[in-house]
Each structure stands twice: as C-alpha cells, then as structure tokens.
C-alpha cells in the first residue's frame, strides 16, 4: 500500500544525496544519537518522579514543566534526523520488521506522552492515585524502550 510512496521517496534528491554521500548518514545518525541522550534524560526525569523515585521531593508538575521543553526539542531533532535516515534507505526500511515495530511504538509513545501522561503529570498533587501515576510511568518507559530497541535492531537486521 505504501510501497509506491516509499519508492518515490527513495528517488528524491535528498534521499540520493544522503545515500551517496560517504559521511552524511553517519553525521545525521550522530545527531540522532545526541538527541537520544537528551530525550532519554527528559523522559526518565519525569517517569522516575511518577514512580516515586528520582526527584521525589519536588512536585510532579514542577518536574514535568522543566522537562517538557527538552522533551519536545529533542523529539523534534529526533524526528527530523530520523526522517533523514529513513529517506536514505526508504525501501530497506519498508521491508524491515523492526522499522515498523519502531514506527508503531513511536506513534503510541508520542500520543501517550502528549495526552494521558501530560494530563496526569500536570493534574496537581493528590488528583491521581499513586498507583495510576506508576502505571503511566511504566507504560511510558515500555513504549519508549520499544522505540529505542526496535530502532537499534533496524541496523542489525539488514
């Protein structure tokens, strides 16, 4: 269903440019990794707090608000660089199971982060039962771990 689009993408100038350059892929990948560290820190800061670990002397809302811009900023960098990596080998990705696992986890992780998790984190003290805070944190960690692990696996399954 998506194959024609993927094939069109792989013939675009940007795809050819990244694919033919000996270093472009490596550079984009490095930026992707640097943003991974930042997004990891931003996600973990809040999820640890939701679990009652990490910065547990701080209000959840405080941690959520401080982590948010770093989360969004690094997510944008990840999406842009990730798209660059994808177009350079779009057809290979299309036939890669880990790639689709990653995309599915990513979609779920982003929806969860901007809806349930954000609402729960900003709900204010005592509004959400502690058990649900922990459930939200675990779901978030599992989803993001899925994104990272499946992403790493794209490279191995080639």
């Amino acid at each position: 269903m998506l194959l024609p689009y993927v094939q069109w993408l792989s013939e675009t100038r940007i795809s050819q440019a990244i694919g033919q350059s000996s270093w472009a892929f490596a550079v984009i990948e490095s930026v992707h990794l640097l943003a991974l560290a930042v997004i990891g820190g931003a996600v973990l800061m809040l999820d640890l707090r939701l679990l009652g670990l990490g910065l547990r002397d701080q209000p959840i809302e405080r941690v959520a608000r401080d982590a948010f811009p770093w989360f969004v900023g690094s997510l944008i960098v990840m999406l842009v660089t990730g798209f660059g990596l994808f177009v350079s080998e779009a057809t290979k990705c299309y036939y890669s199971t880990p790639f689709w696992v990653k995309m599915a986890s990513l979609l779920l992780a982003m929806i969860f982060a901007f809806t349930v998790r954000r609402r729960v984190a900003l709900a204010g003290e005592g509004q959400v039962r502690p058990i649900w805070l922990k459930v939200v944190a675990v779901v978030s960690l599992v989803l993001w771990f899925g994104v990272g692990a499946a992403g790493r696996w794209i490279g191995f399954s080639a």
Binding site: L33, L36, I39, G41, M45, L55, G148, W153
Partner: protein
C-alpha cells in the same frame, strides 16, 4: 609503548572470539550500551543543564545529586561493563581506530572535568546550592561536560565506520600516526 601486542593477545582469547562471533550476544551488548546512554548520559545532560542554570532551577543541586546521582552511577557502571565487552570483542581494530582513541581521550578529559568540579566549586556547594543560576565555575564545568560527552557519543558512533582503518591504505600519514597503524615500506600489517 604500544598496547598492540596486548590487544592481539586479547583478540585470541576464547572470550573475545566468542563475543566477536556470537550471533546474538554482540548485538545485545551493543544495544544495551546504546540504550543505557539514555539513563547515564540523559541524566548527566539534565545535571549539566542544571549546572548551567537552564532547567530544574528550583531544585537544589544537593537534591539532584542525592536523588539522581545513584541512577547516573548505575547507568555508568552498565556503560563501562558493556563498553569494555565491546572493546574485548574487537580489540585490535578498536585500538587502531582514531575514533576509539578520540573517545578514550575525551573520556579521560570528562573524568578530569568531573574530578576538578568535585574538588573545587562542589566543595562550596552550600554557598550556591539553591541558586537558580550557579556560579561561573560550575556553569563552565557543566558546559565542558556537555561538549566532551557529545564528542564521546559521536566518536563512539564513528568507530563503526572504516574510513580510517589501518587495513584501508593508503591513508594520510597523520591518520596512520594517530591510529597507530603499523605501515611497512611495502604494505601494512
């Protein structure tokens, strides 16, 4: 002094060969190394950003240290163990990689930066613990740390590429010298 003979010896040990040739173990160790980056470096970045006074400005530095420090230490231990395993799996090529060497130097510098931080400005932490923007020396330590860790990550990723490998000759004399390639008059070893 060259560590090349040691690396050559290491490469022939059963453990190194097993890791190198394993179908699953090597990717699992490598994935663990990369994903633990989120734990150790992710939190270290937050720590450095706090030192720079750009996030978590209402959190006292001592609290961050007490609550986040153990997670960073845990992540760091995993990074060191998996990183050592990755080196042991491919010792000779890693030793002769300019990227690996760059990473090693940056790691030493990052360690030195942390050591100096703990020995100097961190000693007077009670004076600036709750400052939204810490004093210049602390900010500088945070900035240096961010730059060094970025170098470590990028150089680490580049180890996988063979542009400057010793068995890919001719290389420029500088590359051969920096990578420690043993280049004989007529070829390479």
């Amino acid at each position: 002094m060259s560590l090349l003979p040691f690396c050559q010896w290491l490469a022939d040990t059963p453990g190194s060969i097993a890791l190198h040739e394993s179908v699953f173990m090597y990717p699992v160790v490598e994935s663990t190394h990369v994903l633990t980056l989120c734990v150790f470096l992710g939190l270290a970045v937050m720590w450095d950003l706090r030192l720079l006074g750009v996030t978590l400005t209402t959190v006292p530095m001592t609290q961050l240290k007490q609550r986040i420090g153990p997670w960073m230490t845990g992540g760091f231990v995993v990074m060191i163990i998996t990183g050592t395993m990755l080196f042991c799996a491919i010792p000779v090529r890693s030793y002769q990689s300019i990227w690996f060497r760059m990473k090693a130097v940056a790691l030493v510098l990052a360690g030195l930066n942390a050591f100096v931080f703990h020995r100097t400005i961190d000693r007077r932490i009670e004076q600036w613990d709750t400052d939204p923007v810490p004093p210049p020396a602390a900010r500088l330590a945070g900035a240096r740390s961010l730059v060094l860790w970025a170098v470590i990550v990028v150089a680490g990723r580049m180890i996988a590429y063979n542009w400057f490998d010793c068995d890919k000759q001719p290389q420029s004399r500088i590359v051969n010298a920096l990578a420690g390639c043993v280049v004989a008059a007529e070829g390479v070893r």
